[in-house]
C-alpha cells in the first residue's frame, strides 16, 4: 500500500511506503492524523500549507457490506478547525482496490486560471498506480450534471470521480466535494466544512479513477473476515430499519422528518420553532407515496455505492415520471424545507438538484437561506425565492458569494442574531433544545455542529461513564464522549454510519464489524479497543483545534438557544457549561 502525494505547486507525484505509525489507521483516523502531523494549525485553509487528504476505510474495497466509504480531511475553511467529511461512492471502492491508503493533495499552483484533472489508473507493468494530469479548465464554471457525463465519455464508463463544483472554484465555505453515485450522478458528497474549496484552491477540478486491473485489498485473515462479514450482513438484513423494504430502503433517511416533528425537535423557520405544520407533506413517507402515485408502483431505494445492502438513497419523480433528483436526504429535506418554511416536496427536490449541480452542501445552504429569510431578503416559505438564491450562489453574484460563505458569515453580514452555528458550522436537523443529548455533541465535537459526530453502536457503551444515568447531565457528558469515540471508529472502519442502527440492537453485528477489521488488518482488537482507537482520533483532532485557537468557549451552543424557549415544549438549552467541558476533560 502507498501514500500518494500530489504536489500541485509543480504537479509532482510521490509514492511513499506507509509508515509504521499509520499502519493500522484508515478513513477518518488516517486523515485526521495526517492533518495533525503535516498541516500547520494556523495555515490558511485555502492557502498553500493546507492539505486535502482522502483515505478509505479499513474494509473499503472488500466484500464487507455497506462499506464503500471515503473520508476527506483538511483544515476547514468554514470552521477554521480540523475537518473530516465522509461519503459513499464507487470512487471510494476504486481508491481502495488501487491499494492507495491515502491520497494527499498539497501545495497550490501559481497559475490560478488553469484547473487540473488527475487521472489514476493501474499500471500492471510497474505493479502500482499511474498518475496523470489533464487540463480540466474546460469543465469549470459549469453545472456538474452537464460536466460529469463528459468525464465518462472521455475516460470510459467504468471510471469514478471526486471533484468540486463552481462553489469550490469560488472558494465558498459551503462547498462540498462531489463524487458520482452508481448511476453516474454527481450526487454523493463530503458535504460539510467547505472541503470542496480546499480542492478548488489547489486548482484540482476532478480526480478520476479507472481501477481496471487493480489488485484489490489485501486481507490478512480471510476466515475471520468472512465470519465478521456474515454477522454484519445478518444484522443488517434482519433489522427493521435496515432490512430490504425496511425503513431506510423504503423512505430513506427522510423517514426522520415526521418523528422529529412530533417530538417538537424539527428546527423550523430558522430554529424559531420545533414543529413545522407542513412536515408530513415533505417527509419520507410522503415522498414514497408521491412516487407511488406518479409512477403507478412502489419504488424502493437504491445504493449510493457498490456493496451497500441497506440501500437508503431515494429518488423523487415528477408528475410525468421524470426524475427530479436523487437523493432527498433527511438533512437536505429539512434544511431546504422545514427550516425555510417550505412544504413543497417538488421545490425541495429541485433545490437539492441545484445544490448538487453547483457543488453546495445542502445543510449549510439551507441554514444560510433561512438566515437570509430571517433578515427579510425573501420571506419564509418562498420556494421560488430560495431557488433563486441558490442560483445566485451558483452564478457567483454578490449576494451569492455572501450566502456561499456559510450561515455564520451571512448572519453577520445581514445583521441576524439567531444564527444556529457551532464553531462556524451550521446545525443539522435536530433541535438541541428538544433533544438535549445531541446538543452536547453539537457543542463539543471537533467538527463544528455535526449530527454524524455522535453515533453509538453498542449498549456496553452505557457503562463507560461508570454508573451514570444516561438521562442525567453527567451521563450525557459520558455518553457523548463515548458516542463521539465510537463514531470516529466507524468513520475509520469504512462502514457507512447507518450500520450503527442495526448493530446497536443486534450485538453480534457489532462483533462482526470488529472481526472484519481484525480480518483485514491481522489485529486482535476487542470492543474496548474500539473506544480507545476512537478516543485517540478525537484527541488528535482536539489537539489540532486547540493549536488553531479553539478553547472551551467554542464548545458552546449559540446564546439564543439558552434564552429563547422553543415551541412546542418551550424549553431552552439548559445543560450547564461544566457538563460540556466534562466531555473532553476525561478523554
Amino acid at each position: 500500500m502507498w501514500i500518494v502525494r500530489i504536489n500541485m505547486t509543480d504537479r509532482s507525484v510521490k509514492f511513499e511506503d506507509v509508515p509504521e505509525k499509520y499502519k493500522y489507521l484508515a478513513g477518518r483516523g488516517l486523515t485526521s492524523h495526517i492533518i495533525y502531523d503535516e498541516v500547520p494549525p494556523l495555515a490558511h485553509p485555502l492557502g498553500p500549507s493546507n492539505k486535502l487528504v482522502f483515505a478509505t476505510g479499513i474494509v473499503t474495497g472488500t466484500s464487507a457490506p455497506t462499506s464503500a466509504r471515503v473520508s476527506a480531511g483538511g483544515k476547514s475553511p468554514l470552521t477554521g478547525g480540523i475537518k473530516e467529511s465522509n461519503a459513499g461512492s464507487p470512487w471510494a471502492h476504486d481508491l481502495a482496490v488501487m491499494r492507495i491508503k491515502a491520497l494527499i493533495l498539497e501545495g497550490l499552483p501559481e497559475d490560478k486560471k488553469t484547473f487540473w484533472g488527475i487521472h489514476l489508473s493501474w499500471d500492471a507493468d510497474a505493479g502500482k498506480p499511474r498518475v496523470e494530469f489533464f487540463d480540466a479548465t474546460e469543465y469549470t464554471g459549469k453545472d456538474l450534471y452537464e460536466v460529469s457525463p463528459k468525464l465518462f465519455e472521455r475516460f470510459g464508463d467504468r471510471i469514478s470521480f471526486a471533484g468540486c463544483g463552481v462553489s469550490g472554484e469560488y472558494g465558498y465555505g459551503n462547498a462540498g466535494i462531489v463524487y458520482n453515485d452508481l448511476a453516474k450522478r454527481p450526487s454523493r458528497y463530503s458535504g460539510r466544512g467547505g472541503l470542496g474549496s480546499v480542492m478548488g484552491s489547489k486548482r484540482v477540478k476532478f480526480i478520476v479513477i479507472d481501477a481496471k486491473g487493480a489488485p484489490g485489498v489485501e486481507i490478512v485473515d480471510k476466515a475471520l473476515f468472512d465470519e465478521g462479514r456474515k454477522k454484519m450482513i445478518d444484522a443488517i438484513r434482519s433489522h427493521d430499519i435496515t432490512k430490504p423494504k425496511g425503513g431506510l430502503n423504503s423512505f430513506g433517511t427522510a423517514v426522520l422528518i415526521n418523528i422529529l416533528n412530533e417530538a417538537g425537535g424539527l428546527p423550523t423557520r430558522n430554529f424559531s420553532s420545533g414543529r413545522f405544520e407542513g412536515a408530513a407533506k415533505i417527509a419520507g413517507e410522503a415522498l414514497f407515496e408521491t412516487n407511488k402515485q406518479r409512477l403507478g408502483k412502489e419504488l424502493y431505494n437504491h445504493a449510493c455505492s457498490p456493496g451497500c445492502i441497506i440501500q437508503c438513497s431515494n429518488t423523487l419523480y415528477d408528475e410525468n415520471g421524470k426524475e427530479i433528483t436523487s437523493c432527498v436526504e433527511y438533512e437536505s429535506d429539512w434544511a431546504l424545507g422545514a427550516n425555510c418554511g417550505i412544504d413543497d416536496l417538488d421545490a425541495i427536490g429541485e433545490m437539492v438538484q441545484l445544490c448538487n449541480a453547483y457543488g453546495l452542501d445542502t445543510i449549510e445552504t439551507g441554514c444560510t437561506i433561512a438566515v437570509a429569510m430571517e433578515a427579510g431578503v425573501i420571506p419564509f416559505g418562498d420556494a421560488k425565492g430560495a431557488i433563486q438564491l441558490i442560483h445566485e450562489m451558483g452564478k457567483g453574484t454578490h449576494m451569492g458569494r455572501i450566502l456561499g460563505a456559510g450561515t455564520e458569515t451571512a448572519g453577520k453580514v445581514l445583521g441576524v442574531t439567531r444564527v444556529p452555528t457551532v464553531k462556524g458550522q451550521s446545525m443539522p436537523a435536530y433541535e438541541p433544545r428538544a433533544v438535549k443529548g445531541i446538543g452536547v455533541t453539537y457543542a463539543t465535537t471537533t467538527m463544528g455542529a455535526d449530527h454524524t459526530a455522535g453515533y453509538t453502536i453498542a449498549p456496553e457503551i452505557l457503562s463507560v461513564g461508570g454508573k451514570a444515568d444516561p438521562l442525567s447531565n453527567e451521563g450525557k457528558a459520558a455518553l457523548s464522549r463515548a458516542f463521539q469515540a465510537t463514531t470516529a471508529f466507524i468513520d475509520s472502519s469504512g462502514h457507512c454510519l447507518f450500520i450503527a442502527f442495526p448493530i446497536l440492537d443486534i450485538a453480534s453485528g457489532y462483533q462482526g464489524m470488529i472481526d472484519e477489521c481484525n480480518g483485514v488488518l491481522g489485529t486482535k482488537w476487542t470492543a474496548d479497543d474500539v473506544l480507545r482507537i476512537g478516543g485517540e482520533i478525537l484527541k488528535v483532532e482536539r489537539a489540532f483545534n486547540e493549536a488553531a485557537g479553539f478553547t472551551k468557549a467554542h464548545d458552546r451552543v449559540p446564546e439564543f438557544m439558552k434564552r429563547e424557549p422553543l415551541p412546542p415544549h418551550n424549553q431552552v438549552f439548559d445543560i450547564p457549561d461544566e457538563v460540556l467541558d466534562a466531555v473532553y476533560a476525561e478523554l
Partner: protein
Amino acid sequence: MTIRIDVWLYGELAKYGGEQAKAGFANLQINLPEGATVADLLTQMKMPTEERGITFINGLLSAMPGVQPDLAHVLHDGDRVAFFHLRSMWPFQYRHGASMIGELAQELTSREDKGIHHDYRHERSG
C-alpha cells in the same frame, strides 16, 4: 362529556384514517368519552397496538417498538397523539435527552440497557 383528540397516523398506518388518508399520513379528530386512554383510542380506530411503533402524546415520547407503557395513559381534550409504523425510526443518538411521558421514562430507566435500543420486541440485545 366527550374529549377530542388530534390524531396523526404515519406511513402505512394512514390506512386507519380512512378517507382522511393523504400521501403518507392521515390527520383526524376523534371523539372519546372523558377518561379514555390510549388503549381506548386504539380500539376506536380498530388499530391493533402491535402495528404501532414510536408513539407521541403532545410531543412526549410514549412508546417504542415493543415497549408500550402508555396503554393506560389517560387522554385529555385537545391532546395530540401520533402513531408511527414499525419501519419508522428514531436512533438513540438522536433521541437521548428528548422528553417522554412519565410512564415511559420510568420503564426505560428501570431497564438494564437504560432504553438505548430501538426495538424491544424480541429482547434480542444480547
